[in-house]
């Protein structure tokens, strides 16, 4: 491809393999979290809300979509959101043009981490970005500073990152 050489790393580590992502996600940890869905079922006795149909989470510069999401509230902390779980066709998009796909996601609001699991694929559509694509079984995004790590599963022992030199 014109002007674009692709460098492929196959990173082998002791099981499981870990790769420090060379790019940061755009995150806004102090922004309010806004979630929406075609139906939202708020179950007070279970301290949770179930979102079905085009579920979407937006927090500042980062958004996540999935077919279903579950929000867990902490009644001991005034019903603050504690965790958000997403499943079925999870996509995470930031304003810098990074799109991550996975089977499932877990946003730990208190710990400020977003974990994507199952067939994780990160695509970068920003021409100025260093990262091309990354693949693995688990992607952990630090929502405070935007840094991320991608992991392979224990069996394959490898995570892949394509860089744009």
């Amino acid at each position: 491809m014109r002007g674009l050489a692709i460098l492929l790393f196959s990173l082998f580590f002791a099981t499981p393999a870990t790769a420090q992502s060379p790019t940061r996600f755009a995150t806004s940890p102090d922004a309010p979290i806004v979630v929406s869905g075609q139906t939202i079922i708020l179950q007070e006795l279970k301290n949770r809300a179930l979102l079905n149909g085009n579920a979407k989470l937006l927090q500042g510069d980062l958004s996540m979509t999935a077919t279903t999401m579950t929000i867990i509230f902490n009644p001991k902390q005034g019903d603050q959101a504690q965790d958000v779980f997403a499943s079925n066709g999870v996509s995470v998009v930031d304003v810098k043009g990074q799109i991550s796909h996975a089977d499932e996601a877990h946003y730990n609001v208190a710990a400020e981490t977003l974990e994507l699991t199952g067939n994780v694929r990160v695509e970068n559509h920003n021409p100025d970005a260093q990262l091309g694509t990354a693949q693995g079984q688990r992607l952990m995004i630090n929502m405070r500073d935007g840094t991320s790590q991608i992991y392979s599963n224990a069996g394959s022992g490898r995570a892949r990152i394509q860089l744009k030199p």
């Binding site: 309010p32 979630v35 929406s36 139906t39 939202i40 079922i41 708020l42 809300a49 603050q80």
Partner: protein, 195 residues
């Protein structure tokens, strides 16, 4: 000194007249109250016309199927005489549950229609429904059932609590299992200190 027999009989006659008029008034009042369904309504002033009976500052107290006490208030209450269990209310004010109850509900609106047979109240016009836990629902129309505590809120509606704001087109709320189902809902989750 002997009393004047003429003066005595005049006083007695007057007393009899007063008692007769009082008895008639009391009877009329009882009949009018009995026309208000179960007779549980009380008001500051009651008038009755050919098409409807009207009560000012009406109050009804009772207990629903679950044994929860309720108070219904209305600035003006009109009973539809063709359907005696249905009342039109101006500025209705509802309380369901005791002040200490964890699931107490209060509702206010500009107007309402109460069906005493079903326990259903349709509240309209800037409806505000408050639940324990500083939760406030604002909507143009709420269909509230006094017997079950269930309600349906027609949107655009907002449910606000200290930790979150939910906007939606429709809300169906079930009191028994404390479940609220929103259609086309958006939740804004506030972090600590955000409003």
């Amino acid at each position: 000194m002997a009393s004047d027999p003429t003066h005595h009989s005049r006083r007695v006659r007057r007393l009899r007249q007063v008692m007769f008029v009082s008895a008639l008034a009391l009877l009329a009042l009882i009949l009018l109250w009995s026309s208000f369904g179960s007779g549980a309504w009380f008001g500051a002033r009651v008038t009755s016309g050919p098409a409807q009976a009207e009560m000012i500052d009406a109050v009804m107290r009772g207990k629903n199927q679950q044994g929860k006490p309720y108070v219904l208030r209305a600035q003006v209450l009109r009973q539809r005489l063709e359907t005696t269990s249905i009342y039109d209310m101006q500025a209705p004010d509802i309380e369901l549950g005791t002040r200490r109850a964890k699931d107490r509900i209060q509702a206010q609106a500009q107007s309402g229609v109460y069906d005493q047979q079903t326990g259903n109240i349709v509240l309209s016009g800037e409806v505000e429904l408050r639940q324990t836990g500083d939760r406030i629902i604002r909507a143009p129309e709420v269909d509230f059932n006094m017997q079950s505590g269930d309600f349906i809120v027609q949107g655009p509606l907002q449910m606000r609590s200290p930790a979150r704001l939910i906007s939606a087109d429709l809300l169906t709320s079930t009191a028994n299992n404390k479940t609220h189902e929103f259609t086309n809902g958006v939740i804004t989750l506030f972090a600590k200190g955000q409003k």
